[in-house]
């Protein structure tokens, strides 16, 4: 008998054949605690690092064979061939990821989904709440490389302001608030004059809890500001085949993973 071949798909083989890389194994290079139950995981993946745009996400797979479904996380930062995610421990899968160390391996796939649109000359107002912060750190990083755009971060936290240090590296201005003081709408009201009278028109990019994003969409609608909202939903495959992560829009029931995760406030019918 001949030894059976193994067919673990690799990124290089997929790219050479003209296909998108399937789930593959990568090496963890860093994992650090940012706040109670909040972690920043960094792994080495040239393909994802080279392609991940703001609001795109990575599916991360457990090493435990009883937990099969991927956990989707928005890319927070890229640096060379390294990709950083930020996540909260909300269950057994994320608890496992919190325990990863440099040198461990993990399986990933991405980048997945559509990104925020940043082609317009604008001041992008990055409005995030809680674990909506990571994709907007990536947005700030990406926009910092664009000549036609600037960014203003408006971040709301429960308590520890875990994303400020990171977004501070890239955003032109950073405002943050915690629950003892108010929320992102408090901040937006406070800086409204500055946003509306700046030399670039404001465009809101937002990610966070649903009630927050609805309030942000309403705030934007009232002032005629464009708003792009990155949604979260319990997901299956992450690439558009299982149709498990739908959201109701004015265009019908769409998939958050592959039709989104970014939708305009008009698509969602929010703040009309």
């Amino acid at each position: 008998m001949t030894a059976a071949a193994t067919f673990m798909p690799t990124v290089t083989e997929a790219r050479e054949a003209g296909f998108f890389p399937s789930r593959h194994t990568v090496e963890v290079v860093d994992n650090r605690k940012l706040a109670d139950g909040v972690y920043r995981l960094t792994f080495r993946d040239e393909y994802i690092a080279g392609h991940a745009k703001p609001a795109q996400f990575v599916d991360v797979y457990s090493n435990d064979p009883t937990r099969l479904m991927p956990r989707p996380f928005g890319v927070a930062e890229v640096d060379g061939d390294e990709v950083s995610l930020m996540f909260a421990v909300v269950g057994k899968g994320t608890a496992e990821f919190a325990g990863l160390h440099a040198g461990d391996t993990i399986r990933v796939m991405g980048p997945l989904g559509n990104s925020f649109g940043t082609k317009q000359a604008a001041n992008y107002v990055l409005v995030a709440g809680g674990l909506g912060v990571p994709p907007l750190v990536r947005a700030a990083q990406y926009i910092a490389g664009l000549e036609h755009a600037s960014s203003t971060a408006v971040f709301g936290y429960r308590n520890v302001r875990f994303g400020d240090e990171y977004v501070g590296r890239y955003a032109d201005k950073v405002y943050s608030i915690d629950e003892s003081e108010g929320n992102v709408i408090t901040l937006l009201d406070r800086i409204e004059n500055e946003l509306m009278t700046g030399d670039k028109k404001p465009i809101i990019l937002s990610c966070g809890p649903l009630p927050m994003m609805k309030a942000v969409a309403a705030w934007a609608a009232k002032r005629g500001i464009e708003a792009q909202l990155s949604l979260e939903q319990r997901m299956g495959c992450g690439y558009g085949t299982c149709v498990l992560c739908t959201v109701d829009t004015v265009e019908g029931r769409l998939k958050v993973c592959s039709d989104g995760p970014v939708f305009t406030r008009e698509q969602l019918g929010w703040g009309e």
Binding site: M1, T2, A3, A4, A5, T6, F7, M8, P9, E13, A14, E16, A17, F19, F20, S22, R23, Y61, P65, T66, R67, L68, M69, P70, M109, Q233, R234, M235, G236, C237, Y239, G240, T241, C242, V243, L244, C245, T246, D248, G252, R253, S258
Partner: protein
């Protein structure tokens, strides 16, 4: 002792399939297909050439577009996934003009899965597909996530007989009936389907299941229950195939349930299946169907007696 280590092989390289099969006389280039509900061409085409599979089974289509179920549609179980999509699809007319044409343009062998809320729905879709280039039809009488049609037909042998008898008069395409495991004795609906004119059976569809969020005490899935699939259901699917094969020695069977490797596919073939489908595995590894097909193609090299039977449209038992 010299243990031969498995060699890494490139999944994407062009491959001459060595071990074909036949299902109800329809040739498949290998015994591996996708399972309906887990295959959307627009999503999967980026990952591999789907025409390499034995067949692709497309998502269930209904006479008109269906929105499916609202809210949270999925939860995870131990070695499994629970889904409650509710057969969201853009309708048969869109399917005929879009997915089916694209799949036939790349020479894929296509099994069109048919969904309905009532007999008239199924009949309307089958009539339209009869004049299409679809290679086979799969009648979904086993979806646990719709309030009418689906599993309510597949668990009632009288209703199932009535439906399949009617559809048999409408189509000369090879008709597969997909069975639910949510019955006391799966050989009862299996026999009802075959005696009413089914050309083949596929089994199993998902098992009814749910999860509860212990923070709220409420079901995770908005629809409350969903269909369980994934490696956890492998033994259930195998036993179903075994029992149906024993009851109906000549009917072609497509084995489904928990297959994520060539070895597990082989178990189904030894249980008496002519072919298999890979479902949930594609949700956590997009290239799983192709990988399973390649692994099985190599495993069959060492099992010439089984491979010969499959190529002739026969089964191991």
């Amino acid at each position: 002792m010299n243990v031969e280590q498995p060699q890494h092989a490139n999944l994407y390289e062009q491959h001459e399939w060595k071990h074909p099969t036949q299902v109800a006389g329809v040739p498949w280039k290998n015994p591996v297909a996708t399972a309906s509900g887990t295959f959307q061409y627009a999503a999967v085409r980026w990952f591999y050439d789907v025409s390499q599979l034995g067949a692709v089974t497309t998502k269930g289509v209904s006479p008109v577009p269906w929105e499916g179920n609202p809210g949270v549609r999925t939860a995870e179980g131990p070695s499994s996934n629970i889904n409650a999509v509710g057969l969201q699809n853009p309708g048969v007319d869109h399917y005929l003009e879009d997915d089916l044409l694209k799949l036939k343009a790349i020479n894929a062998t296509v099994i069109a899965n048919v969904a309905g809320h009532c007999d008239d729905d199924y009949a309307e879709v089958v009539a339209k597909l009869n004049d299409s280039p679809a290679d086979m039809l799969e009648i979904n009488v086993s979806c646990p996530n719709v309030s009418a049609g689906g599993m309510s037909v597949g668990t009632d042998p009288v209703a199932l007989s009535r439906l399949i008898t009617r559809l048999r008069k409408i189509t000369d395409k090879k008709m597969i009936v997909k069975l639910t495991p949510n019955v006391t004795d799966i050989t009862v609906p299996a026999r009802a389907a075959v005696e009413s004119g089914a050309d083949a059976l596929s089994l199993i569809n998902t098992l009814l299941g749910m999860r509860i969020n212990i923070r709220t005490g409420e079901p995770v899935i908005t629809h409350v229950t969903g269909g369980v699939s994934g490696p956890a259901v492998l033994p259930v699917g195998l036993a179903a195939v075994w029992r149906v094969r024993a009851a109906l020695p000549t009917i072609p069977i497509i084995g489904i349930g928990g297959i994520d490797s060539g070895e597990k596919a082989l178990e189904y073939l030894y249980a008496g299946a002519n072919a298999i489908e890979v479902g949930a595995a594609a949700l956590f590894e997009p290239t799983a169907p192709l990988r399973v097909a390649r692994e099985l193609d190599d495993l069959l090299d060492d099992r010439p007696e089984l491979a010969d039977k499959l190529a002739k449209g026969e089964t191991w038992r």
